[in-house]
Protein backbone atom coordinates (compact mmCIF):
# COMPACT_ATOMS: atom_id res chain seq x y z
CA UNK A 1 0.00 0.00 0.00
CA UNK A 2 3.09 2.20 0.35
CA UNK A 3 3.03 3.57 -3.19
CA UNK A 4 -0.40 5.18 -2.74
CA UNK A 5 -0.49 8.43 -0.80
CA UNK A 6 -2.38 8.65 2.46
CA UNK A 7 -4.52 11.47 1.05
CA UNK A 8 -5.55 9.35 -1.92
CA UNK A 9 -6.41 6.39 0.32
CA UNK A 10 -8.60 8.66 2.42
CA UNK A 11 -10.26 10.02 -0.72
CA UNK A 12 -10.97 6.52 -1.97
CA UNK A 13 -12.50 5.37 1.30
CA UNK A 14 -14.53 8.59 1.49
CA UNK A 15 -15.74 8.27 -2.09
CA UNK A 16 -17.10 4.77 -1.53
CA UNK A 17 -18.57 5.50 1.88
CA UNK A 18 -20.08 8.86 0.87
CA UNK A 19 -22.28 7.29 -1.79
CA UNK A 20 -24.98 6.40 0.70
CA UNK A 21 -27.22 4.79 -1.90
CA UNK A 22 -27.02 2.44 -4.83
CA UNK A 23 -25.66 -1.01 -5.48
CA UNK A 24 -22.15 -0.47 -4.08
CA UNK A 25 -23.62 0.50 -0.70
CA UNK A 26 -25.95 -2.50 -0.84
CA UNK A 27 -23.04 -4.86 -1.56
CA UNK A 28 -21.31 -3.50 1.62
CA UNK A 29 -17.90 -3.66 -0.04
CA UNK A 30 -14.77 -3.41 2.04
CA UNK A 31 -11.55 -2.25 0.37
CA UNK A 32 -8.84 -4.51 1.78
CA UNK A 33 -5.80 -3.55 -0.23
CA UNK A 34 -4.98 -0.84 -2.72
CA UNK A 35 -1.81 -0.28 -4.70
CA UNK A 36 -0.89 0.74 -8.22
CA UNK A 37 -0.51 -3.02 -8.83
CA UNK A 38 -4.22 -3.55 -8.21
CA UNK A 39 -6.95 -3.68 -5.59
CA UNK A 40 -8.52 -6.33 -3.39
CA UNK A 41 -12.12 -5.91 -2.20
CA UNK A 42 -14.29 -8.09 0.06
CA UNK A 43 -18.07 -8.53 -0.29
CA UNK A 44 -19.83 -10.12 2.70
CA UNK A 45 -22.24 -12.96 1.91
CA UNK A 46 -25.73 -11.59 1.18
CA UNK A 47 -28.73 -13.94 0.72
CA UNK A 48 -30.42 -11.32 -1.54
CA UNK A 49 -27.85 -12.16 -4.22
CA UNK A 50 -28.65 -15.89 -4.36
CA UNK A 51 -30.74 -17.81 -6.90
CA UNK A 52 -31.79 -20.86 -4.88
CA UNK A 53 -34.27 -21.18 -2.05
CA UNK A 54 -31.52 -22.46 0.29
CA UNK A 55 -29.66 -19.23 -0.45
CA UNK A 56 -26.21 -20.71 -0.92
CA UNK A 57 -25.71 -20.15 -4.68
CA UNK A 58 -24.84 -16.63 -5.88
CA UNK A 59 -26.33 -15.37 -9.15
CA UNK A 60 -23.72 -14.81 -11.87
CA UNK A 61 -24.97 -11.27 -12.36
CA UNK A 62 -23.80 -10.15 -8.93
CA UNK A 63 -20.29 -11.39 -9.78
CA UNK A 64 -20.44 -9.36 -13.00
CA UNK A 65 -21.60 -6.30 -11.02
CA UNK A 66 -18.76 -6.82 -8.52
CA UNK A 67 -16.15 -6.96 -11.27
CA UNK A 68 -17.56 -3.82 -12.92
CA UNK A 69 -17.44 -1.92 -9.60
CA UNK A 70 -13.96 -3.05 -8.63
CA UNK A 71 -12.58 -2.27 -12.11
CA UNK A 72 -13.83 1.28 -11.58
CA UNK A 73 -11.96 1.45 -8.28
CA UNK A 74 -8.77 0.03 -9.84
CA UNK A 75 -8.93 2.74 -12.51
CA UNK A 76 -9.51 5.49 -9.98
CA UNK A 77 -6.46 4.31 -8.05
CA UNK A 78 -4.07 3.94 -10.96
CA UNK A 79 -5.03 6.84 -13.25
CA UNK A 80 -4.56 10.50 -12.32
CA UNK A 81 -7.03 13.20 -13.35
CA UNK A 82 -9.98 11.07 -14.45
CA UNK A 83 -13.13 13.17 -14.76
CA UNK A 84 -15.64 10.54 -15.92
CA UNK A 85 -15.47 6.81 -16.47
CA UNK A 86 -17.95 4.63 -18.40
CA UNK A 87 -17.81 0.87 -19.00
CA UNK A 88 -17.45 0.21 -22.72
CA UNK A 89 -17.63 -3.56 -22.61
CA UNK A 90 -17.32 -6.39 -20.19
CA UNK A 91 -16.65 -10.11 -20.57
CA UNK A 92 -17.14 -12.53 -17.72
CA UNK A 93 -16.44 -16.29 -17.56
CA UNK A 94 -18.23 -18.19 -14.80
CA UNK A 95 -15.66 -20.84 -13.92
CA UNK A 96 -17.47 -22.72 -11.15
CA UNK A 97 -20.86 -22.63 -9.45
CA UNK A 98 -20.64 -19.84 -6.82
CA UNK A 99 -21.97 -22.06 -4.03
CA UNK A 100 -20.86 -20.93 -0.55
CA UNK A 101 -21.84 -18.64 2.28
CA UNK A 102 -18.29 -17.34 2.60
CA UNK A 103 -17.32 -13.74 1.84
CA UNK A 104 -16.40 -13.05 -1.76
CA UNK A 105 -12.93 -11.68 -2.61
CA UNK A 106 -12.35 -9.72 -5.83
CA UNK A 107 -8.93 -8.82 -7.20
CA UNK A 108 -8.69 -6.40 -10.09
CA UNK A 109 -6.12 -4.26 -11.85
CA UNK A 110 -5.78 -1.87 -14.74
CA UNK A 111 -3.24 -3.47 -17.12
CA UNK A 112 -3.15 -0.68 -19.69
CA UNK A 113 -4.26 2.94 -19.64
CA UNK A 114 -4.26 5.42 -22.52
CA UNK A 115 -5.59 8.97 -22.70
CA UNK A 116 -9.10 7.76 -23.58
CA UNK A 117 -9.30 4.08 -22.64
CA UNK A 118 -8.47 1.86 -19.65
CA UNK A 119 -8.20 -1.96 -19.87
CA UNK A 120 -8.91 -4.10 -16.82
CA UNK A 121 -8.78 -7.66 -15.67
CA UNK A 122 -10.00 -9.29 -12.48
CA UNK A 123 -10.77 -12.48 -10.66
CA UNK A 124 -13.23 -13.65 -7.99
CA UNK A 125 -12.97 -16.38 -5.36
CA UNK A 126 -14.49 -17.23 -1.98
CA UNK A 127 -12.55 -16.24 1.13
CA UNK A 128 -10.27 -19.11 2.10
CA UNK A 129 -10.59 -20.82 -1.31
CA UNK A 130 -8.09 -18.78 -3.33
CA UNK A 131 -7.17 -21.85 -5.39
CA UNK A 132 -10.73 -22.22 -6.75
CA UNK A 133 -11.50 -19.18 -8.91
CA UNK A 134 -15.26 -18.78 -9.45
CA UNK A 135 -15.22 -16.06 -12.12
CA UNK A 136 -12.81 -14.08 -14.25
CA UNK A 137 -13.51 -10.89 -16.16
CA UNK A 138 -12.01 -8.34 -18.51
CA UNK A 139 -13.37 -4.92 -19.38
CA UNK A 140 -12.58 -1.68 -21.13
CA UNK A 141 -13.57 1.78 -19.92
CA UNK A 142 -13.93 5.10 -21.74
CA UNK A 143 -12.26 7.91 -19.77
CA UNK A 144 -12.60 11.65 -19.92
CA UNK A 145 -10.11 13.86 -18.20
CA UNK A 146 -10.61 17.40 -16.99
CA UNK A 147 -10.48 19.79 -14.07
CA UNK A 148 -13.57 18.32 -12.37
CA UNK A 149 -12.14 15.15 -10.84
CA UNK A 150 -14.19 11.99 -10.52
CA UNK A 151 -13.77 12.31 -6.77
CA UNK A 152 -15.34 15.79 -6.74
CA UNK A 153 -18.12 14.68 -9.05
CA UNK A 154 -18.95 11.73 -6.80
CA UNK A 155 -18.80 13.54 -3.50
CA UNK A 156 -19.98 17.07 -4.30
CA UNK A 157 -22.27 16.48 -7.25
CA UNK A 158 -20.18 18.42 -9.78
CA UNK A 159 -20.08 16.90 -13.21
CA UNK A 160 -19.81 18.18 -16.74
CA UNK A 161 -21.82 15.52 -18.51
Amino acid sequence: MSDISKTKMEQIAQMWNARGKGLITHMALDIEDVSSEGVRVRMPFNPDFCVDSDQTLLHGGILTALLDSVFGLANFVSIEGVSTMATLDLRVDYLRPARSRSDVIVRAHCFRKTRHIAFNSGSICFDGHEDAEIARGTASFALTRGDVSLFDAMTKGKTRD
Binding site: D52, G60, G61, A65, L67
Partner: protein, 134 residues
Protein backbone atom coordinates in the same frame (compact mmCIF):
# COMPACT_ATOMS: atom_id res chain seq x y z
CA UNK B 1 -45.95 -23.67 -23.58
CA UNK B 2 -45.74 -22.38 -20.03
CA UNK B 3 -48.00 -19.41 -19.21
CA UNK B 4 -46.66 -16.03 -18.08
CA UNK B 5 -48.31 -16.22 -14.68
CA UNK B 6 -46.43 -19.43 -13.81
CA UNK B 7 -43.14 -17.98 -15.10
CA UNK B 8 -43.56 -14.84 -12.99
CA UNK B 9 -44.43 -16.96 -9.97
CA UNK B 10 -41.13 -18.88 -10.53
CA UNK B 11 -39.30 -15.56 -10.93
CA UNK B 12 -40.67 -14.26 -7.62
CA UNK B 13 -39.21 -17.28 -5.80
CA UNK B 14 -35.62 -16.39 -6.77
CA UNK B 15 -34.11 -14.00 -4.18
CA UNK B 16 -31.84 -12.22 -6.66
CA UNK B 17 -34.69 -11.84 -9.19
CA UNK B 18 -36.72 -10.11 -6.45
CA UNK B 19 -33.69 -7.86 -5.85
CA UNK B 20 -33.75 -6.94 -9.55
CA UNK B 21 -37.58 -6.57 -9.48
CA UNK B 22 -38.67 -7.47 -13.01
CA UNK B 23 -41.64 -9.07 -14.70
CA UNK B 24 -41.67 -11.32 -17.78
CA UNK B 25 -44.01 -9.78 -20.36
CA UNK B 26 -43.82 -12.11 -23.33
CA UNK B 27 -42.34 -15.52 -23.99
CA UNK B 28 -42.13 -18.28 -26.58
CA UNK B 29 -39.63 -21.02 -27.55
CA UNK B 30 -37.28 -18.52 -29.11
CA UNK B 31 -37.45 -15.39 -27.00
CA UNK B 32 -38.35 -13.67 -23.71
CA UNK B 33 -39.12 -10.03 -22.94
CA UNK B 34 -39.11 -8.46 -19.47
CA UNK B 35 -39.51 -5.10 -17.75
CA UNK B 36 -37.47 -4.07 -14.71
CA UNK B 37 -38.63 -1.39 -12.26
CA UNK B 38 -36.02 1.21 -11.25
CA UNK B 39 -34.94 0.96 -7.59
CA UNK B 40 -32.42 3.08 -5.70
CA UNK B 41 -30.43 -0.12 -4.99
CA UNK B 42 -29.82 -0.39 -8.79
CA UNK B 43 -27.89 2.88 -8.92
CA UNK B 44 -24.25 2.82 -10.03
CA UNK B 45 -23.63 6.55 -10.35
CA UNK B 46 -25.27 8.22 -7.34
CA UNK B 47 -24.87 11.75 -8.71
CA UNK B 48 -26.54 11.10 -12.06
CA UNK B 49 -28.73 8.27 -10.71
CA UNK B 50 -27.81 5.97 -13.60
CA UNK B 51 -28.22 2.19 -13.45
CA UNK B 52 -25.15 0.25 -12.36
CA UNK B 53 -23.65 -1.57 -15.38
CA UNK B 54 -23.67 -4.79 -13.37
CA UNK B 55 -27.40 -4.51 -12.71
CA UNK B 56 -28.03 -4.07 -16.45
CA UNK B 57 -25.90 -7.15 -17.22
CA UNK B 58 -27.68 -9.09 -14.43
CA UNK B 59 -31.12 -8.23 -15.80
CA UNK B 60 -30.00 -9.28 -19.29
CA UNK B 61 -28.66 -12.58 -17.88
CA UNK B 62 -31.93 -13.19 -16.00
CA UNK B 63 -34.03 -12.56 -19.14
CA UNK B 64 -31.74 -14.84 -21.19
CA UNK B 65 -31.96 -17.62 -18.57
CA UNK B 66 -35.77 -17.46 -18.75
CA UNK B 67 -35.79 -17.55 -22.56
CA UNK B 68 -33.62 -20.65 -22.52
CA UNK B 69 -35.39 -22.43 -19.65
CA UNK B 70 -38.71 -20.77 -18.68
CA UNK B 71 -40.07 -23.66 -16.61
CA UNK B 72 -37.11 -23.92 -14.19
CA UNK B 73 -38.15 -25.58 -10.95
CA UNK B 74 -35.65 -24.17 -8.47
CA UNK B 75 -32.48 -22.73 -10.00
CA UNK B 76 -32.47 -20.82 -13.35
CA UNK B 77 -30.38 -22.00 -16.34
CA UNK B 78 -26.60 -22.27 -15.69
CA UNK B 79 -24.65 -19.40 -17.27
CA UNK B 80 -21.23 -20.14 -18.86
CA UNK B 81 -20.14 -16.66 -19.88
CA UNK B 82 -21.21 -13.32 -21.30
CA UNK B 83 -20.04 -10.26 -23.16
CA UNK B 84 -21.84 -6.94 -22.86
CA UNK B 85 -21.46 -3.80 -24.92
CA UNK B 86 -22.59 -0.68 -23.02
CA UNK B 87 -23.99 1.80 -25.53
CA UNK B 88 -25.76 4.49 -23.50
CA UNK B 89 -26.24 5.30 -19.80
CA UNK B 90 -29.32 3.67 -18.24
CA UNK B 91 -31.39 6.54 -16.80
CA UNK B 92 -33.77 6.47 -13.84
CA UNK B 93 -36.94 4.70 -15.04
CA UNK B 94 -38.06 1.30 -16.36
CA UNK B 95 -35.62 -0.85 -18.34
CA UNK B 96 -36.73 -3.41 -20.95
CA UNK B 97 -34.83 -6.49 -22.13
CA UNK B 98 -35.38 -8.92 -24.98
CA UNK B 99 -33.43 -12.18 -25.21
CA UNK B 100 -33.41 -14.15 -28.47
CA UNK B 101 -32.23 -17.74 -28.63
CA UNK B 102 -29.71 -17.84 -31.49
CA UNK B 103 -29.04 -21.55 -31.11
CA UNK B 104 -30.16 -24.14 -28.63
CA UNK B 105 -28.33 -27.45 -28.92
CA UNK B 106 -28.33 -30.48 -26.62
CA UNK B 107 -25.71 -29.09 -24.25
CA UNK B 108 -25.24 -25.41 -24.99
CA UNK B 109 -27.46 -22.44 -25.84
CA UNK B 110 -26.37 -19.10 -27.34
CA UNK B 111 -28.51 -16.00 -26.91
CA UNK B 112 -28.35 -12.38 -27.91
CA UNK B 113 -29.89 -9.85 -25.56
CA UNK B 114 -30.80 -6.23 -26.07
CA UNK B 115 -31.97 -3.70 -23.49
CA UNK B 116 -33.60 -0.29 -23.98
CA UNK B 117 -35.68 2.38 -22.24
CA UNK B 118 -37.75 4.80 -24.35
CA UNK B 119 -37.05 3.55 -27.86
CA UNK B 120 -36.06 0.04 -28.88
CA UNK B 121 -33.94 1.65 -31.64
CA UNK B 122 -31.74 3.32 -28.99
CA UNK B 123 -30.39 0.36 -27.01
CA UNK B 124 -28.76 0.86 -23.60
CA UNK B 125 -26.71 -2.35 -23.92
CA UNK B 126 -26.34 -5.43 -26.11
CA UNK B 127 -24.96 -8.78 -25.02
CA UNK B 128 -24.16 -12.36 -25.96
CA UNK B 129 -24.78 -15.06 -23.36
CA UNK B 130 -23.99 -18.81 -23.24
CA UNK B 131 -25.78 -21.32 -21.02
CA UNK B 132 -25.04 -24.94 -20.15
CA UNK B 133 -28.14 -27.10 -20.51
CA UNK B 134 -26.82 -30.27 -18.85
Amino acid sequence: MIDLQTVNANVSRVPFFRFLNFEVQSLDNLHAEAEMTFESRHIGNPVMEHYHGGIIASFMEATAAIAVHPDFADVPAKPINLTVDYLRPGMKGPLYARADVTRKGKRIASLSVITWQIEREKPIAEGLYHFLLV
